[in-house]
Amino acid sequence: MHDLAIVGAGPAGMAAALAVAEAGFSVVVVDEQARAGGQIFRRPPEAWGERHGTYRPYTWARDLIERFEDHPGIKTHFRSTVFGVLRDRDRSEHAVFDVAVSTPVGGQRITSRRLLLATGAYDMPVAFPGWTLPGVMTAGAVQSLLKSQKVLAGKRIVLVGSHPIQLILAGQLLDAGAEIVEIALARDMPGLVEMVRSLPAIPGHVSIFSEGLRALAKIARHRVPISRRTVVSEAVSKDNMLDVRLSQVDRDWKKTGINHTVEADVLVLGYGFTPSTELARQVGCDLIWNSVGGGWTVSHDTGFQSSAPDVFVAGEPTGVAGAERAWAEGHMAGLAIAASLGATIPPVALAQARRRLTGSARFAGVMQAMFAPRRAALAELSRQEETVICRCETIRNGKIEKTLQNNPFIQSASAVKLECRSGMGPCQGRYCEATVAARVAEVRKASIEASGYFNAHLPVKPVPLQDYRDIGEE
């Protein structure tokens, strides 16, 4: 029995693990990637002989990773997927968790007294005609290939979206020798430059500011065309290339009808990020709709305990706010967990954790407000009958609209899922939920929030049947 089980070895998971292990408790951490660091750091493989990757501009990352990896009280399972929390039974006033894990050598059951969900986020899905074509990838995909595998996704690249990651990524792609055909941003450019200029006003974020400037300078030097108030509206496969149609939009990202087409090998989507909350849903945590925070987020108290007793949450699932904020939240959650296990937390440590939280909240607030997605306008891009909404089950928009027409009682995204299988494939709705909810909202003249979210059941990710047998469940 471990004192704490953590899902996710990113900044939040690592910081929490350290706080709890340093208080003398046993911690086990599960992560799908090969090494600690999360999506933000995605280090090169151990087999390539270097312990560290490039953590620029996060100056604290190296120390955090080293302390995490060297701590004898922290056990880790990498390349492993938590597919559910099997039991949550009461013993005295506290729960005991049975965490079901699919590892490279089969199923394993981990028991723990506390559970921390530091499950991070994934690239926000935006459905449009052609988004399922080979060569269309998320910003996270292209960046992780570059960072951890030293692979350039293609030669001619077009980046579209609204998130500043696209500028940082463009700089990294140019460094690696790619030709960037165009960067199409949904928002206004002046706002972007203002944002970069405003960063030094935020204490502790000078390094992120300089990284942004470095990328902008690189883009200018390579004379990469940047179009503003432009979104991707279609991709077509042609002669082993992608024809990417870009459309002008107004201030609210509604199409104004002027289009142009560029040719590329790879189309990179970067409209923001969506918190990974499927385990939180399966465990029974209350969720809160927070559009600028990425969508559905997990409700929590000041010690990052969720509404489910003894289940804590930290990092992007509380609202997408970046690595620095995730680190601060993980640290605070770790102190709260250690306290709940009986440790005495020195007031100095608590004060330091609070200071970090306040500092990172300011920065996160500026970023979120500036780069909030215009969800209704993005959902408009999938209005054609033939556009695939659910990638796994190939459910097209026409089927979803017909489902809503034929079933006037359907008011929720979950009911659409049950009726027409959108969200029932291997990804379990992660890539269609937002579009389905937006469609329900549009047709029923309600809010996206009111359309709700897909319920999550065990397994939250498909795993081999053998893994169930390994842990004694059939």
């Binding site: 994934y122 080979p134 060569g135 996270g140 290939l145 692979v151 030669k155 990638r391 796994c392 992660r430």
Partner: protein, 94 residues
């Protein structure tokens, strides 16, 4: 077809595996997704209607890179490290 290319860096030792019976060369430490993309594979999987799919998220959430490895289906190529002699096949009818 994927036009991904490896950048110059120190990689692990060379190893071989098969995709749809064809030999693919890769390096220890690479993921199966990396090796197949760098080999120029045109489709990791095919949908029920025969549309090709390549990796979309490269982080384990989308399942578009799922392949069949040594007879086991729904294996995410982006989360699987290459091994000498592994037999990989396209997943069809996803």
């Amino acid at each position: 077809m994927s036009k991904a290319q490896r950048l110059e860096t120190k990689r692990g030792r060379e190893l071989k595996f098969t995709f749809e019976g064809e030999t693919v060369t890769a390096f220890e430490g690479e993921t199966l997704a990396t090796a197949l993309l760098a080999a120029g594979v045109a489709a990791f999987s095919l949908t029920r209607t025969g549309e090709p799919r390549l990796p979309f998220c490269n982080m384990g959430t989308c399942f578009d890179c799922a392949v069949c490895v040594d007879g086991r289906f729904l294996v995410r190529a982006c989360l699987t490290d290459v091994r000498e002699g592994m037999q990989v096949n396209r997943q069809e009818g996803k």
